[in-house]
Each structure stands twice: as structure tokens, then as C-alpha cells.
Symmetry: C2
Subunit: 335 residues, 2 copies
């Protein structure tokens, strides 16, 4: 009457076949719903398998078929609050299709990134969802023919999921202009990332056109501002900031507050990413929202599709961003 009829060990396909009085082959066929097996036997095998609590050994299956139904997710930095939401949705979407996800965090090191990819490939993952730390195309030679979906970066050989950063950068700049600002500073992420450059470039372009660009600086994706950036932020040279990442924007707010400046009364700020912290800050950070949930889901969908049909032509998905107004934008202070 217990679920476990044999002596403690996990039942194997052979056990099922034996118990059902049938060959291993038919058992396999029945369980996988392929080949020609009679309706009665099929039902019987299924029933027996269920009774024994049979679960196929995925290692064995993997060796035979070459498919592990596992994918790898390579992220630059899990502690950057942008990524957990992505990871969460990837994991869930994958589970819907009975895939499991190896997650790695490369700490922004190319070294670690290479190692992670190697390890996952050796593990035999069926595909990779990869958010590279920058555009450097170290991937292609590693991955061989393995299906890879690249997130947010540019890459000539793989499926891509990107966001319409140009439009985001423009929205932010225009909103600040519309609020009346004429001395606007731009902080963007590292220069070796194209999507990061683009975010700021489109902002800069708009600001130039309105002759409203105070300065343009770069900062790592982090709360901590580099000294030069912190100085520029707080020296009054700009009445508004157009920042390429919420993380940096929150850092900027912090710096401003520490120097006794108020947001948004003295300085307005718009971020980018819409990380959860932003909503919680006081006042809430106005920012550009990236539909990270959908991106995660769509990432696994396109990856799985590619795994199924390796020959299909390359896909590139671009997601729209939206401006979300909260509390960090106001007119410039009266001079």
C-alpha cells in the first residue's frame, strides 16, 4: 500500500516494465507517448508507473538524448536589484516548460563570465540566457553552436532581447526640459556597454538640441558615486539630472541629501530601470520603466523556440519602455 514497493531505491524504468509485465522498450514508449503501443498496455504502464512513483532519471535521459532540459542564466550581478526580478521570471517561465535553470553571477568579471559559460556548457545545458557584462564578443567562440539568447547587449550571431533605450533616454530628457530645466547633467553607466551609451546619447542629443546640457559623466552601476561625479552632482552646476540607471540615481539622491540639497526642490532627477527601491524612496524616484517581467518570460520563450528549431532565422525583440512619474521631478528652483 505504500508508494515504495521495492527496497528503498528509486524505481527505474526496468522496475516499471517488470511490474507491468512488459518490456522496457514498451514501457519507455508508453511513458513518452510515442511509438505504437496498444491503448490498454499504455494505460496499464502509466498506472503502474504512477503506483511505483516512478520518475525518469534525467541524467540517463540526458546522456541518451543529448538534451538536459536545463538552461543557464548568466547575470552580471545579482545584487543589482534589476536582476532578481528578471531571474525570477526566467525561472518561472522555464519551469512552465519543465526546464530548470542554473543561475550564475559573474561579478562583473570577464574571467568569471568565461568560466561560468564553460561550466554550464560542460554541464550540457540546452541553451543559455546571457546578460553579458559588456559588448565584448567573447561569447561566440565559447558557445559553439549552442543556442544563446543575449539580453540588452548587441551581438551579431545570437537571438537578442533589447529595450528601446533611445526612446527612454529621450523621454527622460524631454520631461526635464518640459519642467523648465535648462542646466541638466547626464550620468550614464560604463562606456563599454552599448546600451548604456545609447541611453545617455539619446538624452544628450535632446538636451543639446535645447541647449540644456550642463555636463555628461559616467559611473559604474552602483550606489556609490565616483568622486568626480559626486562633485558635479552637488556643485549646483545642474538643476536636474538625467541618470542612466536607478542605482546611480539613488546614489545621487543620497549624495545630494548629504550635502543638504533637497530633491526635487533643488535638483530634479530621473532614473532608468524602475528597480523596486525607486518606488520606495521618498519621494519616489521618477524613472523609465523596463518591462523586466515580460523580458524574462520572452527570453525563455525565444530560447526554447531556438532550441527546438536551431535553423530558424535570428530573432531580435525590442521592448518598449515607459516613463513613470513619481516624485523627483519639479520645476527648477527660482534663481
Amino acid at each position: 500500500m505504500t508508494k515504495d514497493e521495492s527496497g528503498g531505491k528509486r524505481p527505474t524504468l526496468k522496475d516499471v516494465a517488470l511490474a507491468a509485465g512488459v518490456s522496457v522498450a514498451t514501457a519507455s514508449y508508453a511513458l513518452n507517448d510515442v511509438g505504437s503501443v496498444g491503448g490498454d498496455t499504455r494505460r496499464h504502464v502509466l498506472e503502474v508507473a504512477a503506483r511505483l512513483g516512478y520518475r525518469p532519471n534525467l541524467s540517463a535521459k540526458a546522456m541518451r538524448t543529448g538534451k538536459t532540459s536545463a538552461i543557464g542564466l548568466i547575470l552580471p550581478d545579482l545584487t543589482n536589484p534589476f536582476f532578481p526580478a528578471l531571474a525570477q521570471n526566467v525561472v518561472h517561465a522555464a519551469r512552465e516548460s519543465a526546464y530548470s535553470v542554473f543561475v550564475t553571477d559573474t561579478q562583473g568579471s570577464h574571467e568569471a563570465e568565461r568560466a561560468a559559460a564553460q561550466a554550464l556548457i560542460q554541464r550540457g545545458v540546452d541553451g543559455l540566457i546571457w546578460f553579458p557584462i559588456n559588448d565584448e564578443d567573447t561569447l561566440a567562440d565559447l558557445t559553439g553552436g549552442l543556442p544563446v539568447l543575449v539580453l540588452d547587449r548587441d551581438n551579431p550571431r545570437h537571438d537578442l532581447i533589447q529595450i528601446d533605450v533611445d526612446s527612454g533616454g529621450r523621454m527622460a530628457a524631454e520631461r526635464l526640459i518640459r519642467a523648465g530645466h535648462r542646466r541638466i547633467g547626464v550620468i550614464s553607466g560604463p562606456t563599454d556597454v552599448r546600451s548604456s551609451r545609447q541611453r545617455s546619447e539619446s538624452s544628450v542629443e535632446v538636451l543639446r538640441r535645447h541647449d540644456a546640457l550642463a555636463w555628461h559623466l559616467h559611473n559604474a552601476y552602483s550606489f556609490d558615486l565616483e568622486p568626480a561625479v559626486a562633485a558635479a552632482v552637488a556643485d549646483g552646476s545642474a538643476t536636474a539630472l538625467c541618470v542612466g540607471a536607478d542605482l546611480i540615481a539613488l546614489g545621487a539622491i543620497n549624495t545630494l541629501r548629504q550635502r543638504g540639497l533637497r530633491v526635487p526642490e533643488d535638483v530634479s532627477i530621473i532614473g532608468f530601470d524602475n528597480i523596486p527601491y525607486g518606488a520606495l524612496a521618498f519621494p519616489g524616484l521618477s524613472t523609465i520603466n523596463i518591462p523586466v517581467e515580460e523580458m524574462g518570460i520572452e527570453a525563455v520563450n525565444t530560447l526554447l523556440r531556438r532550441i527546438a528549431k536551431p535553423a530558424e532565422s535570428r530573432r531580435r525583440l525590442v521592448f518598449d519602455v515607459t516613463y513613470v512619474e513619481r516624485g523627483t521631478v519639479a520645476p527648477p528652483p527660482a534663481p
Copy 2:
């Protein structure tokens, strides 16, 4: 001269053996550094393997040995900022030992938790690091004899890594008393989690002893306060809050600000967890720090040790917490 000598396919152990002029058995022994193989042959095999770029097929190895050198990490909610740091350290520590990590996020659903565990077990993970959503012991019957390390929860059968929550709860309460508060509210997490109950109970005990307990309420682990909690927080019945989780504490700060109350001038707050947001809030959230990095590392260490020696006696590690003073504690406002 290229790395790939054969026709595109990944080289197998047989290929290595062939190229080295030796049997597969010796090749295997040489590469795994076991059995008795001559120094010269060993070196030669290694050299050939390197030249061919041989990587063992882990699925095959897994099937033969029953070990996958993969572990599973089961977390309640990746978007709770407490967990990414943990996950990061688990992943890294695992990689040090050539283990990969399947990450799952159970969204606080027992259903999903069960499913995740099942899936991972079927995958043949060598062990599980499990942060259960509450104390309910649904695990044991699922996991069978599989090595499991339980985080922060109580569990009679598995290795445990916990934190000294009592002392944390006490520290927080005492700090507020010392600041002069006599009407202190306590907000703790869900009641079905022992560690959560404990956090608050030890606070409550201290406060009772000083006759300084205003009220004691519960809230989900989330930024959003339930109406009753929000009301209590803002109705002036307490001049200080002792909160069982930073997430909730930040939510409380938010609520207070929206009602026009200042932190810490009107209300002091101490959180618990030391999530990254806390440092960034303004003023910085005073809180109880949990050494989450060490916990992550120690979790994989103890798990791997258990995997190696299943019979060793059960281990229970308790980590100390520390109070970190930032800006949310001040004397109560003059009446």
C-alpha cells in the same frame, strides 16, 4: 593547430584514449588521478586531453556515479532583497568546489515549493539548500535521504544554519529603550515562521520588562503595510518601532512620511536584516545585520560536507547578528 582536431563534435574519453594510445580505462584513471597509472602515461594522457580540449560529459559521469555535482537552492522570493546576496554567495562558494546551482524561487507558495523540490530531486542534485517559506515540515517526506541544509527555519532532521535572532530582537529593543522611548510598537513577520516569532518575542519580552510595549502586530514580508498596521504606525501611539524585517521597516518609514511624520524626529525605527536598500534610505535605516555572505558560504560548505559524509551527526550553526546604527534612532519627541 586548432583546438578541435576531430570533426566538430566534442571529444569523448574514447577519443582521448585513442589519441594517447591507451585504453579508456587508463585514460579515465589518469584524468581522475586514481588507480595505478604510470607517471609518464598519466602526464601524456593529461597532455593529450588538454590538446583535444576534452571535457568530461557530466551527464554520463552523473549516471555512472550517481553524483551530479549540482545542488539546488530553494528560496521563497528572489525579489526580497535579502535573498540575492545569499544566492550570490551560494553560487560562488559552490563554484569554488566545481558545483553548479539550480536556483528556484517559490513565490511563497507551498505548492511551488513542493514542485521545485521534486523537480530538483528528479534532476539528481546532490543536495539542497533550502530556505523554507515557513516551518511546516513538508520537506522530510519529499527529500528522502537526500542531504538538505535548512536555512533560518527549524527542522528536526536536517542540518541547520540559523541566526541568533533572540539577541537581535533584544538589541533592537534595548537600543530604543536606551534612547529614551517608552511607547514602542513591534511589527513582526508572519506568525507561522518560528524565526520570525522569535525575533519579535525577544523584543517584546525586553519591552514588557521595561513596561514600554505599545502594541505588537504582524505583517507580511513586504513593503506594503496592511491597513491595521499602517494605522497603528501613524496614529501616534508609539514613538518608536521595532520591526522584524527591513522590508517592512522601509514600508513603515514610507507610510510615516506620507502622513507627514518625520523619521527619526517623530518616530524612531530599527529594522532587521540589513538589506542594501536600508543603507541607502535617507536617513539610513538602523538595523540588525545578518552576516548573509558568510551564511551563504557556510551553507554550501556544510552541505558539501554532508554530501561527502552522510552519516556524520547533524550540524547546527548559529550566526551572531550585530546592531548597525545609522540614522533612524533618536530620542522621543518632547511631549
